[in-house]
Amino acid sequence: MSVIEARGLVKSYGDLNAVDGIDFEVAAGESFGLLGPNGAGKSTTMRMIGGTSLRTAGTLTVLGMDPEVQGPDVRANLGVIPQQDNLDTELRCRENLITYGRYFGLPRAYLQQRADDLLAFAQLTEKANEKVDNLSGGMKRRLTIARGLINEPRILLLDEPTTGLDPQARHILWDRLFRLKEEGVTLVVTTHFMDEAEQLCDRLVVMDHGRIVAEGSPAQLIREHSTREVLEVRFGSDRNAAVVEQLADLAERIEVLPDRVLLYSADGEAALEHVRGRGLNPVTSLVRRSSLEDVFLRLTGRSLID
């Protein structure tokens, strides 16, 4: 059963179609990703799901309701984690959770207990009476997620959940999100980080310029749109383009980036042997598995982070 269903969804701002006719479904309990660069239309799509952005065309149902007509009822079942933390800095940590719960009309007695549980879940029990401004970036993010869970949402919308966090904070956050997924919460995640999409998403759509350019599980997308391995070689920025012709037959596909050349091949080590065999000694070389980054490059001709 799908909890979100979008058909021909369009959002225009003047002449610009921020979201340009997309179709997708999210099943209950699924972890669904919207992957794409900045400006691809991911956040706009998220806002339309929450009913805080009105669509220009198409249909959208969330838990069987139209978020434009039944905004408050739809949002009663959503947990919204915005891209930028918007915690209430005039309230302390625990007050943030309780006050936010009151916005949903939940009773105070219930919220007292719920706030304590969520502070424990977010590993912030000791910070309960701390001012929000005194928290680290990772803590603020966890508090924002805890706040988004106050109403026991059926769907959690996470817009760029780990952008701006250091690696350790990201892993703590991923771990928390994974637990939620295990509890059966539907996650909708936007990200421009490939590793995040691979960690969190069962299934994802790749978005570019407001359109969906591919859809599938991370493994499926890599299988369909890339090779098993990638060989990255650097010859120095002035030589990279010059040597490409001599490499053309060594890989299924070659991408030349400003700082390096990517050779797509089932066997990266073998390709590297051939490169060396031709007397082309790269300054550095790296063989790695294909990632969603490569899928995106293949589909759009551009890197995700620019």
Partner: protein, 262 residues
């Protein structure tokens, strides 16, 4: 009705609760800041200037001391200041920087709940300033009629008009420079709305202009109430704020819809 769909969830109370929680956290200090300005005017002008002026002619030609003449006007100003403080600068900060409303609107609250709650907080501040000022007036022995007590609900009406319009206007502003426009409008309005001297000192055309502004109606109304002397204009003053409040609230709701349901 579809234009209003999804705008209201009937939970203004939660927005008010948040406001009072924040006031509690600030130990109420921030609340008093705007209260003193009219009090200082009352003392400086009323006693300082009042000694030189002597008796002036109040509503319906009633002779009154200068202090008694300006006190009700400053009460109206006090209610206005309280309402404006919350509905302009506070709203601006919450909208642009703290993004409080963005968070509120990701819950089951609708824009109308938020607007009504924030206007409610502005009214509360207006009420607090007005009550405080009335106590000062009583202490100085210049609230002589029992009608003076009716100044409190009227102060609320004045605050409502200013809060609703102030909030709607603030929704158009995006920079601090634009916010300064509010002061540029409010200060001359305070100076010229027959607050400190009667309106008939101006040429007729200027009088008409002043009479179109809200504060003049507030000032006249308060002055009439202070001595319990009413006239046909009383109803006009009340109606002015009634219309201003209703129009302001509708305007405000439409602006919030435009801002948050893009």
């Amino acid at each position: 009705m579809t234009a209003m769909a999804g705008l209201y969830a009937g939970n203004v109370r939660a927005v008010l609760e948040r406001g009072f929680k924040v006031i509690g956290n600030q130990n109420w200090t921030i609340l008093v800041s705007g209260f003193f300005e009219p009090v200082f005017y009352l003392l400086a002008m009323g006693y300082g200037l009042g000694g030189m002026v002597g008796q002036v002619s109040g509503p319906n030609g009633t002779p009154m001391s200068y202090l008694s003449f300006i006190a009700p006007a400053l009460l109206a100003t006090s209610a206005m200041n309280g309402a404006i403080y919350d509905s302009t600068w506070n709203v601006f900060f919450k909208m642009k920087f703290a993004r409080i409303y963005e968070a509120m609107l990701s819950t089951s609250l609708g824009p109308l709940d938020v607007a009504a709650g924030e206007i409610g907080m502005a009214l509360f501040r207006g009420l607090l300033y007005a009550c405080g000022f009335l106590v000062v007036m009583a202490g100085l022995g210049i609230a002589t009629s029992w009608w003076a007590l009716a100044m409190v609900p009227v102060a609320l009406l004045i605050a409502l008009g200013f809060a609703a319009v102030g909030m709607a206007v603030t929704s158009w502003f995006s920079t601090f420079q634009q916010m300064e426009l509010i002061n540029i409008v409010l200060l001359p309005m305070f100076m010229f709305s027959s607050t400190l001297f009667p309106i008939d000192v101006y040429p007729q055309a200027v009088q008409w202009f002043i009479q179109a502004l809200p504060l003049w109606h507030g000032v006249e109304l308060m002055r009439q109430l202070s001595i319990g002397a009413f006239g046909p204009m009383t109803a006009v003053h009340l109606a002015y704020f009634g219309v201003m409040s209703v129009a302001g609230v509708i305007f405000c709701a439409l602006r919030l819809r435009a801002l948050f349901l893009r």
